[in-house]
């Protein structure tokens, strides 16, 4: 065939140059320095003390550090698992167009083992400061601070142990989810790279099965992890849409990250067989799921707004009527809905790298704000905010994530050269 994938160097690997490593590490160091300055200013009494409103505890500077750790743990875990999910989705749907870019979402999964360690370690470090339900006096009927509502939910955290003791059920879920996510990721990864070496369609068929199994597991685990890791912060409050809400936020952020890496690699001269048609489809994904996220956000908001039940509205009162957080509610909507909706609406914007680079970067920031708004009001109250600590921690996590992903890309070929649908991907035209 005159025009086929055989014209390209299919064994090409990403060259993670020393210069690029240096610039990523520079960002990491700058982030760490900003974080350190943020911690110092906060220690010197930057945060104003509202002991009563913060749930009877005095505010300490390290609570803000913990909240930031938790935001970024959850956020980057989400981007990593969305990489694996997107990869699995292409196999489960037997999609051909995406074959040329499959290695990019797959590489995101390399963050998962790190995220697992960070998440479990951070939970033990932060438990009382982030998760109100970890206090044992809430479950003690003789205590003046006994909380009937939380006591009713206690089994979800502590079963089969006594409520208020060690949250074994919560920890077990965290370990099981990460365990299976890493297991599925490794399974798909090893099948993908074995296919490179041996060829044949049996790998593709096996990956379809494993992908379908992973998606079933992910459907349940993504929702429950959203309740566990994010919704349980506001222990009294609950929303039946929260699993979808967190998933939608993760998915848009993950798609934006995939698009950014693809655009970046193309500019560096890699992924020659990926053309503007593939980029266009990624742009459509980002556009469509930005609207999906807005739909979920608004559905949750509208039902609570219209029903006007105090125990539900408290969630939005804490955010929209707070002098600290109310501006960020609008930042969140502007960055995650109005910007992608109006900028990515036209066909040209989805096909040109410059629009996608700007919009996807801002969406990744925007969904960080989304998680910021989920975590900080319930943990820090008036003492939270967007300051040096937040910027620093985001830079530290973001650059570490980029480093892990790019090192993984440098190890193996960028194109799945024996994928049975590779030729179809090359001829993709829209």
């Amino acid at each position: 065939m005159a025009h086929g994938t055989t014209n390209f160097n299919l064994d090409q690997k990403f060259d993670f140059t020393a210069a690029l490593k240096k610039s990523i590490i520079t960002v990491l160091v700058i982030g760490a320095v900003i974080l350190a300055i943020g911690i110092i200013t906060n220690m010197m009494g930057g945060g104003h003390d509202h002991a009563e409103e913060a749930g009877g505890h005095a505010y300490h500077w390290y609570q803000r550090l913990f909240a930031n750790l938790w935001i970024n743990n959850v956020y980057f875990t989400g981007i990593a698992i969305i990489g694996v999910f997107f990869f699995a989705l292409q196999y489960a749907a037997q999609a051909g167009w995406s074959t040329g870019i499959l290695r990019i979402p797959l590489s995101f999964g390399n963050w998962l083992p790190i995220a697992a360690v960070l998440m479990i370690a951070t939970f033990f470090l932060v438990s009382h400061d982030i998760f109100h339900w970890t206090h044992s006096y809430l479950f003690d009927k003789d205590s003046p601070q006994y909380d009937k509502l939380i006591d009713g939910k206690g089994a979800f955290f502590f079963w089969p142990l006594a409520k208020g003791s060690f949250p074994i059920f919560f920890i077990a879920r965290m370990v099981i989810f990460f365990g299976f996510w890493v297991f599925f990721f490794n399974k798909l990864k090893s099948l993908a790279f074995d296919e490179d070496l041996n060829g044949g369609t049996q790998y593709w068929k096996k990956m379809r099965t494993w992908s379908a199994l992973f998606i079933i597991f992910f459907a349940v685990s993504s929702s429950i992890s959203a309740w566990d890791w994010v919704m349980s912060i506001d222990t009294h409050w609950f929303s039946t849409m929260f699993g979808w809400y967190v998933f939608a936020s993760w998915f848009v952020a993950g798609l934006s990250a995939i698009t950014l890496v693809v655009v970046f690699l193309r500019e560096k001269g890699y992924l020659e067989m990926v053309n503007e048609n593939h980029v266009h489809d990624l742009g459509k994904f980002v556009f469509a799921f930005s609207i999906f996220w807005t739909y979920i956000w608004f559905s949750q908001f509208l039902l609570i707004y219209y029903a006007n039940i105090p125990e539900e509205t408290v969630y939005f009162v804490e955010r929209m009527q707070s002098d600290v957080y109310s501006p960020f509610v609008f930042v969140n909507l502007v960055l995650n809905f109005f910007l992608p909706f109006f900028v990515l609406m036209t066909r040209d914007a989805k096909r040109h790298a410059i629009f996608l680079k700007v919009v996807c970067s801002l969406i990744i920031l925007g969904h960080w704000f989304d998680f910021f708004l989920m975590v900080q009001p319930g943990t820090l109250g008036h003492n939270g905010g967007f300051g040096l600590m937040e910027v620093g921690m985001l830079l530290v996590y973001g650059s570490s994530f980029a480093f892990v992903v790019l090192s993984a890309l440098a190890k193996k070929p960028l194109i799945a050269k024996n994928h049975p649908l590779l030729e179809e991907s090359y001829h993709h035209h829209i």
Binding site: F298, F301, L302, Y305, Y306, N308, M345, T346, R347, H429
Partner: protein
């Protein structure tokens, strides 16, 4: 000779032959009036040199019209014409207007786009679609060349060109 009246038609069996024929006909300087096919042929816009459709612009404008109409309608009904307190909200409870606004935006964008498409491609109810060859609704592709616009090339040359490019038959068709 009058324009848009007399045509010479190349009839093709196969869309791949058709695509190559279009390129050949265009490079030889003949202006193509229109190509008719029983199903959408992938990539035909590119070889015909068509610019991108402006239909999305129409859709956007109709969508905006829907947004504005929906907001005005609800604001008028709920605030001015028949104010009612529902759930302790303001008369004009903006968040509650959004679902209706969304629906009307989608409705008008879709209807407007279909209407514009119907009118611009002469499928309007009062239009008289011209059938160049009844077989274009079944299994033949037809490439129509207006004789008046290509008068300088000559009827015979055009017919030969169409035959050379793979047409199974070359016919003439005139409209009153």
């Amino acid at each position: 000779m009058e324009r848009d009246k007399n045509f010479i038609l190349g009839v093709y069996d196969d869309e791949d032959v058709l695509l190559e024929a279009i390129t050949k006909v265009r490079t030889s300087g003949v202006k193509i009036h229109e190509v008719y096919s029983p199903f959408p042929v992938h990539g035909i816009d590119d070889v015909l040199g068509y610019k991108r459709s402006r239909l999305p612009i129409a859709a956007f404008l109709f969508g905006m019209l829907g947004t504005i109409l929906a907001l005005i309608m609800q604001f008028y009904m709920m605030k001015i014409d028949w104010p009612m307190i529902i759930g302790g909200k303001d008369y004009a409870a903006f968040p509650a207007f959004i679902p209706v606004t969304f629906e009307l935006t989608v409705l008008l964008a879709a209807f407007g786009m279909v209407g514009v498409f119907m009118i611009s491609s002469n499928l309007k109810p009062w239009g008289q679609p011209r059938i160049f060859d009844i077989r274009i609704t079944d299994d033949k592709h037809v490439l129509a060349v207006d004789l008046a616009t290509n008068a300088s090339i000559g009827e015979k040359n055009i017919a030969d060109l169409l035959k050379d490019s793979g047409a199974t038959e070359v016919n003439k068709k005139s409209f009153e």
